[in-house]
Amino acid sequence: GDGRSSSRTSNDLIAYKNINDVPPPRDLMIQVDQRNEAILIPLYGSMVPFHVATVKTVSSQADTSRNCYIRIIFNVPGTPFSSHDPNALKNQTDIFLKEVSFRSKDPRHISEIVQQIKTLRRNVVSRESERAERAS
């Protein structure tokens, strides 16, 4: 809440500036941090943040044995995604995390997370494209 949303430009969407801003892990499950526009993913006992603007799609799926799966696909170069994304040109040799897939014991939690990510992503993308339009 330091007015950073107006001072930030779209090419430096940062989830957290400080390590201690990352919220404490909640049961080592996927979390959405609305305020910092971040998705936190449990990898090997740590919560790893990704800014929602790096997400391309998110989907879930259930199987017959009460298991639930969530798939998060991230933006990578060479696929059509939001035109204001500056990474494709800037980081040509960088390796991208493209996709993560999780199995969950809690289908309700997964459907909530999918909805939260979709809504947050839509809001951030529309805000960023408005800003890009204003700037041009």
């Binding site: 990474n87 960088d94 493209k98």
Partner: protein
Amino acid sequence: MADGHSFNNISLGGRGGTNPGQLKVHSGGVLWKKQGGGKAVELDKSDISGLTWMKVPRSNQLAVRTKDGLKYKFTGFRDQDVISLTNFFQNTCGLTTEEKQLSVSGKNWGEVDLNGNMLSFNVGQKQAFEISLADVSQTQLQGKTDVILEFHVDDTTGANEKDSLMEISFHIPTNNTQFVGDENRP
């Protein structure tokens, strides 16, 4: 104990999440015991090939790398523990500790570093996350640029995380020369 330091509430991180326990650091090495018994990790100082501190949210993490390529990550140290343990490792065990930084910027692009069994994803010299290749059951190449890693499904090791990683994939641009022609690449 007279010889060394003992810490409660130190969790060992791994594939299935974290387990709380007690860590003892003594002149002969490192011993971690799971709370309530069960799993223990005993590392002799002659087996240790590296020690790394990393600041993590609200805590500090000690990574112990062994000569056979394994890595154990202990979390729950206060800032003052880091100072006293760094001195103890140096003066009593003759082991030097390094420091590593954690990336929390939320970017999904960076570099991949392979060290022993560990694959580390780094964003701007800082580590975003690490996965153990020992847990990978299958790797697939998709097209020319994508590498998919599939993980073992293990319900037996007392996993305490609610959401478990099944699959992760990386996009490696064709002009990245780091892994060209390496058949052993995961």
